[in-house]
Symmetry: C2
Subunit: 206 residues, 2 copies
């Protein structure tokens, strides 16, 4: 049953802790998915390894990948490119292995357009959940802080609407467990498994 693998996309607002959750997921236990390493033009930092933390490329190399439709998604932040090489994702999915991406929200929306059957998980800051409590106990925050927080929350909820799941990052190990449950249960969805059953029947038709 060499079905196509499942594409799992973890994203969320900047500062929510996507990288920490991703690292914890990769360490947690032998995973059934492959992590897709991003490509960047930013300088390698001490301790980083090419091909592990990122594929480190020159601006010219990155732009050539873009020109050749070699990127599943990409964006430019502070004069540097970041993105996901398409070939690794496609090859791995074709082998029937799930691929896990941890990317920025703009990139996630590019992927959503190209792979609508992916699983899109939005990591939410715990203070979005705690907003209600904070408002109830007013007085602790001044008007300007509350207004700023509310605007940020509105933006985050707007982003969330484009995802399949919302996972609160209150504690990293809890967030990891929730994401693992989502992955396992997505594998039981009828649209993902029914072809297996049909093939079994088809293969034995006379």
């Amino acid at each position: 049953m060499a079905n196509r693998g499942m594409l799992i996309v973890l994203s969320g607002p900047s500062g929510v802790g996507k990288g920490t959750v991703r690292q914890a997921m990769l360490k947690d236990k032998p995973q059934d998915f492959k992590y897709s390493v991003s490509m960047t033009t930013r300088k390698m930092r001490p301790g980083e390894v090419d091909g592990v933390d990122y594929f480190f490329r020159t601006k010219a190399e990155f732009e050539s990948e873009i020109a050749n439709d070699g990127m599943l998604e990409f964006a430019k932040y502070v004069d540097n490119y970041y993105g996901t090489p398409l070939k690794y994702v496609n090859d791995t999915l074709a082998q029937g292995v799930d691929v896990f991406l941890e990317i920025e929200v703009n990139g996630a929306m590019q992927v959503r357009e190209k792979c609508p059957d992916g699983v899109f998980i939005f990591l939410t800051p715990p203070d979005l959940m705690a907003l209600r409590d904070r408002i109830v106990k007013r007085g602790t925050d001044d008007e300007a802080t509350i207004a700023k927080r509310l605007n940020k929350a509105r933006e985050e909820i707007k982003m969330m609407q484009n995802y399949d799941y919302a996972v609160v990052n209150d504690k990293v190990d809890l967030a990891v467990k929730r994401i693992e449950k989502i992955i396992e249960s997505e594998h039981l969805r009828v649209p993902r498994v029914i072809d297996n059953y049909k093939k079994m029947i088809g293969a034995v038709k006379k």
Copy 2:
């Protein structure tokens, strides 16, 4: 956050072990959902308790419920009615509590029409999964047995298409764990949670 509860429907072909899985789910640990007891006109068997195993009613009482639109779903098997009273389901969901139904496939399709946002889980017989192996090792089954099994499998796959998830009942405790993961992860789906977030923001708008 008194959101409406989630309706969870477990169904599957007759003989697949729905009742056993349901009983194991109710025993497994304190559940966050309420089990909706079915109503029937069949005779009470030794050891059964009215209101626990079934609501035991006369044919006239059951038909009066049907006439008053009091049933979420019902069917007649071997001259007896079986069905799900609507009021308990509605009241419990309105309290924000999940409701778990374990019903026949015909009933599940009636519920699907009325509650499209329910979670519909199809329990599949393990031999549907093992079909491939059995065919490979032919000779052990005669032609007629294989043909019969294939027809049954085709019917089961046809039914499965109307469900959200397919869970193999290879071992009861494994099936229970899969269903519990589905329930947990369905609670993280954006369409189910986003109103909570919106309410938090709306509640504090000035």
